[in-house]
Symmetry: C2
Subunit: 426 residues, 2 copies
């Protein structure tokens, strides 16, 4: 028996007897000839069947049955990939037990969103859905390789924590041997602590947000790509690293996408206050006393960055301190503004980052000014009590990144098994 | 100002003016001369101080303060790394706020285990503790690179699930918008589902076990390295892959460890029943009717593999079906025994793996025979309803692997922020 090749390898084996294996994607029966499409992890292959007995048997087999096909690879310009299999010998590996409730062979899935989510095991087999995840996986690979190259160390930190990370709201509570634990909203505290140990760290992990909104942009559990680095000058060191990381992510994704977003060598950066001023001058909308950007303003800035810098990305720096978490470092020259930033990708917030406080007394003051008791933060505050360099970092939401990259409106279409207000399965 | 180099780069800069930065690890004052040890993420450097005013100022600075030192790199055979800094200019970046409650400069940490865990932010800075995590990070890197090389795709799957993965026991429950959710004990169901999509997948993620034991080997949250692959012959395909993955992990770890465990090109494999027979013949202990291996027998087999095969690893295959989870594939020739295996590393279970059922009716029968209702498994069973190839995989516990590799008795010493029956902080 010849050994298996992938459907995408057929063109390298023209004229040879080969074996492919995969799922029965589609069978088209014409008079005297049938075309079987086999799907494997990489692609599709067409098998030409001239024996009507074989076609009839195949027709009885439900779609998605797992099969093995041996045949001769023949170059045929009109075949979908330029090569097809002739004179096939077909073996059923595992028959499907039922016909699928919707077709996987159409260019896009047409069933209702809820039906598709209920049948994720099947939905994800659709080449387009699978492709979204392949882009996610390539993004993870690019993220890590950029950081490994820059001397970062991967960390893995607890998701079960004794107190909420950033505020008391929007955390899931867990019964932990009779105590109440919470699910971590981010690895923020741990990645900062680890700067004291390893200086430069990253974590790819799940984060949990008990936000009760039901929007196309939010998930209650998602994958966060977290970075933190010590010995920075200020948040501009962090923005420079972020640019490098995004460049590497796009480089690894490139073979999977015909057109990549435009990211200039030097990421455009605009100050928060300057952005509001610009919006006022150009649109007449006066939001100059607002503490945050409205979604419409983010979209406007996205358009502006594209026109002005030919960039799909724009960093907005210097958000007012009042809207940022307590560990945010102020701008020493203008203390009402922070050394933090958001990265807008095509006019939507994708990344939040910035410089953090690093002096112990600053933490005590920041907690006190917000009326927060320092006791629940003890293990975190130790990192600063015992000496911490100036540091900062950022976090990228994986599913939101892929959705924006693939221009998919609902983040649920790119997450593997999304969790939202109404969905805990599959 | 010269730019910063790491302490480990000093020997490449002998005779030059250089800058290092890091933590005040130790100061030794002798008459007329002082030695300052600076620690950075990579190592230690000795700084020679002949100016007593500087020494006195440094002495007032608590250990773990963050400093920058510029000086001339001088080759000195008696210096710890062969090079030390002379004529230093020292800048304090961040003073520590308090003296640490225990010394980090001693070869090993001598405080009580609970004190060390309570002060993880400090404890992890100790070079030995930091080294354990560096080995963990290198293991993750080797794990992924082996699998990427073999055409695997990384996945990220939910930790919030609607029903327990393998059994109803030992799961943490979560209040999910008024519903009860559980924390996933493993990504088992999801990685199998994803074989239907991508054929070969892996996940590095946290898993949660609500086991109320308090032992040196168990954590209630840990990092699991999960693999699943389709189109296998049986569990031997999985054992071959596991061998390759372990080889690559050891290769990446090699620069960090003077002596690696011995892993032969071909991993020794013994059948469960044969193992019990061997134990009976050699020790007189008759466990031939037991359904599982006792820890003492695992240790005995570890010794035996080392003597017989020069291997620190031994796979035991064919555990009785009765002790394995419902998705386990039986040995078609001896259905009371499974196509599953455990990997013993130095006589301790490190990996569990095997072939899984892949036919839908087999799942229904397996659930029925255990009195389990198939309804909560619906999203999982779809994968089999719609055609799944023969498949299998394995899971490695990261912290247990590192503990065993570094011969550390308690897994809490190698986990970053361990969670156990009595500990949820820091």
């Amino acid at each position: 028996m010849v050994s298996r090749i992938y459907t995408t390898q057929l063109s390298a084996h023209v004229g040879e007897r080969v074996q492919i294996a995969g799922w029965k994607h589609r069978l088209r029966r014409l008079s005297g000839i049938s075309f079987l499409i086999v799907r494997d992890k990489h692609g599709l292959a067409q098998v030409v069947i001239e024996d009507d007995t074989i076609s009839t048997e195949l027709d009885r087999l439900y779609q998605e049955s797992v099969i093995r096909v041996e045949g001769i690879a023949i170059a045929t310009p009109q075949a979908p990939s330029g090569v097809e299999l002739h004179h096939p010998q077909i073996t059923v590996i595992t028959p499907a037990h039922e016909p699928p409730p919707f077709d996987l062979f159409r260019p896009s899935l047409t069933a209702q969103p809820a039906t598709l989510l209920d049948h994720a095991a099947l939905t994800l087999r659709h080449p387009q859905r699978r492709h979204y995840w392949q882009i996610a996986a390539a993004s993870l690979c690019g993220f890590r390789s950029a950081l490994d190259h820059c001397g970062f160390t991967e960390i893995q930190t607890p998701k079960l924590v004794a107190s909420a990370t950033e505020s008391g709201a929007n955390v899931f509570s867990v019964d932990y041997f009779g105590q109440t634990a919470y699910l971590a909203q981010s690895p923020q505290f741990y990645k900062q602590i680890m700067v004291g140990v390893l200086e430069r760290v990253y974590e790819v992990g799940r984060v949990f947000r008990a936000e009760p909104h039901d929007t196309p942009r939010h998930l209650n559990e998602y994958t966060s790509l977290d970075v933190e680095m010590g010995f920075i000058n200020d948040h501009h060191t962090v923005i420079a690293l972020l640019t490098e990381v995004l460049q590497q992510m796009l480089e690894v994704i490139a073979p999977l996408m015909p057109e990549l977003p435009r990211l200039p060598q030097r990421l455009p950066v605009i100050h928060f206050q300057e952005a509001l001023e610009l919006i006022y001058q150009q649109t007449g909308e006066d939001a100059r006393h607002e503490p945050d950007l409205a979604p419409a303003h983010e979209r406007w800035l996205g358009e502006w960055a594209r026109a002005e810098y030919g960039s799909d990305f724009l960093a907005v720096e210097g958000y007012p301190m009042i809207k940022r978490p307590f560990y945010t470092h102020p701008n020493p020259m203008r203390p009402a503004y922070s050394n933090s930033f958001d990265l807008l990708f095509r006019g939507l917030e994708l990344v939040t980052g910035g410089q953090r406080l690093h002096r112990y007394p600053d933490y005590l003051a920041a907690l006190a000014s917000r009326g927060l008791n320092p006791d629940p933060f003890e293990g975190y505050l130790q990192a600063f009590k015992y000496g911490m360099p100036p540091h900062g970092g950022f976090a990228i939401g994986l599913e939101r990144w892929v959705a924006r990259l693939c221009e998919v409106a609902n983040v649920r279409e790119v997450a593997l098994f999304p969790r939202d207000l109404n969905r805990l399965t599959p």
